[in-house]
């Protein structure tokens, strides 16, 4: 890792600048986090109409709390906790019924047990997938299927895979922001990835059997 340069502001520098009215500093923070916040809020609130409101409310709460930010965690994880709390409060208020699938999380298996024989060997092995990420993502239907698979995940699996794989957060950042142990985070990520793979399998492998 390269040594810190004089050009890269610390969290404390950024907070100071934003409190002093530096719109560029705040704009940079928004640019870095808006897409991620939107996805996270969408993962919790589920209703698209409410998502934007929740994110706006979170930014306001962040500004209002900024003077009291002590730097005990990174600015990013501190902000995300505010967003997650707002989103969860809102989701409860919207009184959405929790779907059955949301109740599970770390218990399900990555691959259906039926795919293995009694000795644990493949009985119904995965059929080969062809295509590169570029060629596959050019297919809008497939992109829609990936998004649907993410939507179908239990909340905690969805949050972890969105932050880790789509937004590129480190495992440490995600653990801190969502208050998860390393094991818990690893298992949630694994389950999420396995479920998404299983959801794509029937479309990418013509010879494959079900999940």
């Amino acid at each position: 890792m390269s040594p810190p340069s004089a050009d890269v502001p610390t969290d404390a520098d950024r907070v100071r600048a934003i409190l002093a009215g530096d719109a560029r500093a705040f704009g940079a923070l928004v640019d870095e986090n808006q897409a991620s916040f939107t996805r996270v809020a969408r993962s919790i609130v589920r209703s698209p109409a409410v998502v934007e409101e929740v994110v706006q409310e979170a930014w306001l709460a962040i500004l209002q709390g900024l003077a009291a930010f002590e730097g005990r965690s990174s600015l990013r994880t501190w902000m995300l906790r505010i967003l997650v709390n707002r989103a969860r409060t809102r989701a409860v208020r919207e009184a959405r019924t929790v779907p059955f699938s949301a109740l599970s999380g770390a218990d399900d298996e990555p691959v259906d047990a039926d795919r293995f024989d009694a000795r644990g060997h493949w009985k119904a092995p995965p059929g080969a997938w062809s295509g590169t990420p570029e060629s596959l993502l050019a297919d809008r239907q497939l992109v829609g299927r990936i998004e649907a698979a993410i939507e179908d995940l239990p909340e905690r699996q969805r949050l972890v895979v969105v932050l880790r794989d789509i937004d590129g957060w480190s495992s440490e950042e995600v653990r801190n922001a969502l208050e998860l142990s390393e094991t818990n985070q690893r298992v949630l990520l694994h389950r999420a990835r396995a479920r998404i793979r299983a959801a794509l399998e029937p479309h990418l492998s013509p010879t494959a059997e079900g999940p």
């Binding site: 928004v30 808006q34 939107t38 500004l63 997938w129 793979r197």
Partner: protein, 77 residues
């Protein structure tokens, strides 16, 4: 040596980490002789690559509103 079923439990780790250390030996052995597991791990890797390359939500309109929020907040302090 690990069974296929056991190996699928590690597929996610294999996407994130390089399996060169001694703790990966059993897994490497299994992958050396099991085509279906190699394919499964490859598919996990491809799934993650697809996730990493997904087009993002349009953040521009929302950004404007957030910047307005900032201006209002500064003015109201």
């Amino acid at each position: 040596m690990k069974t296929c079923r056991e190996l699928t439990e590690h597929a996610s780790d294999l996407v994130d980490a390089d399996p060169t250390g001694p703790e990966w030996r059993e897994i490497r052995e299994h992958l050396g002789v099991c085509g279906p597991c190699v394919e499964y791990v490859r598919q996990m890797g491809l799934t993650v690559e697809l996730l990493r390359s997904l087009p993002g939500p349009d953040a521009d309109a929302a950004r404007e509103k957030v910047m307005e929020l900032y201006a209002a907040w500064l003015a109201g302090r």
